[in-house]
């Protein structure tokens, strides 16, 4: 069965270019503003949209995404509202793939079966659950695949040739290569190492490989797009949200525009 994610990457392959994958935290700084941001992403140049599900204890995220999650939670964001956000986005766009990204506890508490059912009917295509390694596949990955949804795995510099088959075994949609050792948005990827690792991982999977963690500029995106099938930008966009806020943390008329402008700029890099 082909999903929106499969169709999008197939189309981009025909076009001969890499995908721009954009990450935004749901409900940051509030529900309405994040809906406005997400709705405008495809036009700004996003090919795949990752939506962060806020969590109090995001152990793989750097300060920017941590703060975004806490802003969203403080303004009443929760799992139900995150699914509602996807549903509303789908009213204007039925093609752009949506991947929910986050941590397992809110999903577990929601109830895995119910969550998969509600996410699918809202128009979600896949999931990245950071704290579910292959060793815990029975928890959520297998049920998600059975529901016809993609489970996208993170591969990292510690994913050596011995471990790679385990990591890719139940992966679908695409592979998210974490370009640095560390948390989101704190280090700058070393382009040589990214190239070597992407090429190494290709021996283990035929899925598209997208590269993220620390990509901030059009220049970096352009360089990475030469070797990878997609470039993921997250912390830079979330920081753009933060910078546009008032001192009290309220959104301004610039908030959505700032994010869309940055996405357009990086999209130019990916496409050139």
């Amino acid at each position: 069965m082909s999903t929106r994610i499969d169709r999008r990457f197939a189309a981009l392959k025909t076009e001969g270019r890499a995908a721009l994958v954009t990450f935004i935290t749901a409900g940051d700084p509030d529900y309405d503003t994040s809906l406005k941001i997400i709705t405008g992403l495809p036009k700004a140049g996003a090919d795949v949209i990752e939506i962060g599900m806020p969590f109090t204890d995001p152990m793989a995220d750097g300060p920017a995404i941590q703060a975004a999650g806490l802003r969203a939670l403080a303004n009443g964001q929760n799992m139900k509202k995150t699914l509602k956000l996807v549903k509303e986005f789908r009213k204007s766009d039925n093609e752009t793939p949506i991947v929910l990204m986050g941590y397992y506890n809110p999903v577990y508490v929601y109830g895995v079966e119910k969550f998969l059912k509600d996410a699918k009917s809202a128009g979600v295509d896949g999931f990245i659950i950071v704290d579910l390694p292959p060793e815990e596949d029975v928890e959520f990955c297998i049920p998600a695949l059975n529901a016809g949804l993609n489970f996208i795995r993170l591969a990292t510099p510690t994913t050596d040739d011995k471990r790679a088959p385990t990591v890719f075994h139940n992966t679908s949609g695409f592979v998210y290569y974490v370009s640095v050792l560390g948390i989101t948005g704190t280090k700058t990827p070393d382009l040589k190492s990214v190239k070597a690792n992407v090429n190494r991982l290709r021996k283990h999977t035929s899925l598209p490989i997208c590269v993220g963690f620390g990509v901030k500029t059009a220049e970096q995106a352009r360089a990475i797009a030469k070797d990878a099938d997609g470039v993921v930008v997250g912390s830079a966009l979330v920081s753009a949200v933060e910078k546009s806020l008032t001192k009290a943390g309220k959104p301004t008329s610039k908030t959505a525009k700032a994010v869309h402008a940055l996405v357009s700029e990086i999209a130019q890099g990916v496409r050139s």
Binding site: F55, A60, G62, V109, T159, L181
Partner: protein, 406 residues
Amino acid sequence: MNVTTPNSFRTGPDENGLFGIYGGRFVAETLMPLILQLEQAYKDAKADPSFQAELDSFLEHYVGRPSPLYFAERMTEHLGGAKIYFKRDELNHTGAHKINNVMGQILLARRMGKKRIIAETGAGQHGVATATACARFGLECIVYMGEVDIERQKPNVFRMMLLGAKVVPAKSGSRTLKDALNEALRDWVANVEDTFYCIGTVAGPAPYPEMVRDFQSVIGRETKAQMLKREGRLPDSLIAAIGGGSNAMGLFHPFLDDKDVEIIGVEAAGLGLKNKTKHAASISGGKPGVLHGNRTYLLMDDDGQIIEGHSISAGLDYPGIGPEHAWLHDMGRVQYLSATDKEALEAFQLCCKLEGIIPALEPSHALAQVMKIAPTKPKDHLMVMNMCGRGDKDIFTVADILGVKL
């Protein structure tokens, strides 16, 4: 609950790091190869008699083990029921049980060739113990501690600095123990080659709950031998305080298959269990979830967001509990009760006056339950409470509450 009683309560975890449904390895992929490497290294060390011999030697000559099993005569007379013994782990080097586990993990880190040690700490006891062992072996030591806790526990922060450790404030989230754990995990992800993460309690991804339990089980093994020598039989009941649950697991584990021994864990009820944000009793007031690498009982809201625990004792205000405790609760082998801030404070003061022992606020919670249960038992009932830490670190907190200016 309809559960089948296993033949033994001491065989867990299984090969997936599970105690029933609890435990597991819920970590980011970057850490997974390290977790598997650690698991193997611990397995090898456990099977190597020279590792245990080296650990035993340090426990005897550096930590000061065995710790006494002391008959608390005046407490017994005062309560008028069970014969009360204290397992005196507060007499260990650095003043608490934490060092038992730290010595084990640091020897393992040395065996693995790791030169940089990271740890999280709440009240600072595990941080001090880790800094101590790192000083002893000349290892670099970085301790993550919530900004709020740094303010509350200044003497321990200075101790760590004297011992050569770097104390890094955790500034994210609620800026307490759970956030210090998050920061330590973030550090580990970024420094996978040379770094060993020394976790302070029986929680975290497998193999930590098992490994920390094994290192702390020296408490229960000694208690068993000492009680047999002293009274010619096993105790009738065991009582210990629980934050993450390492001192309790250390005392309980060797006794889990002695079916006549009643086992009681005491969580921190803070200002009372009715107010969701004012206690730290994960079993009595929480539900199963996944955090910090394992599934266990957690304090959280309906959306699965973690709620910060509260307790008068900074060592107990963690919003989770070790996964083996979660399983022992579901199986009904261990009974989990709680004690409020007020009850713990009363027990603290009584212990000072009757026994000449200033207990830490953590075991004061266990003592508060001893005060309730001991009077209901006959005089030949042998009760052991784990005096897992001394109260020097807590005198400022207590003075503050009693309205005394130091």
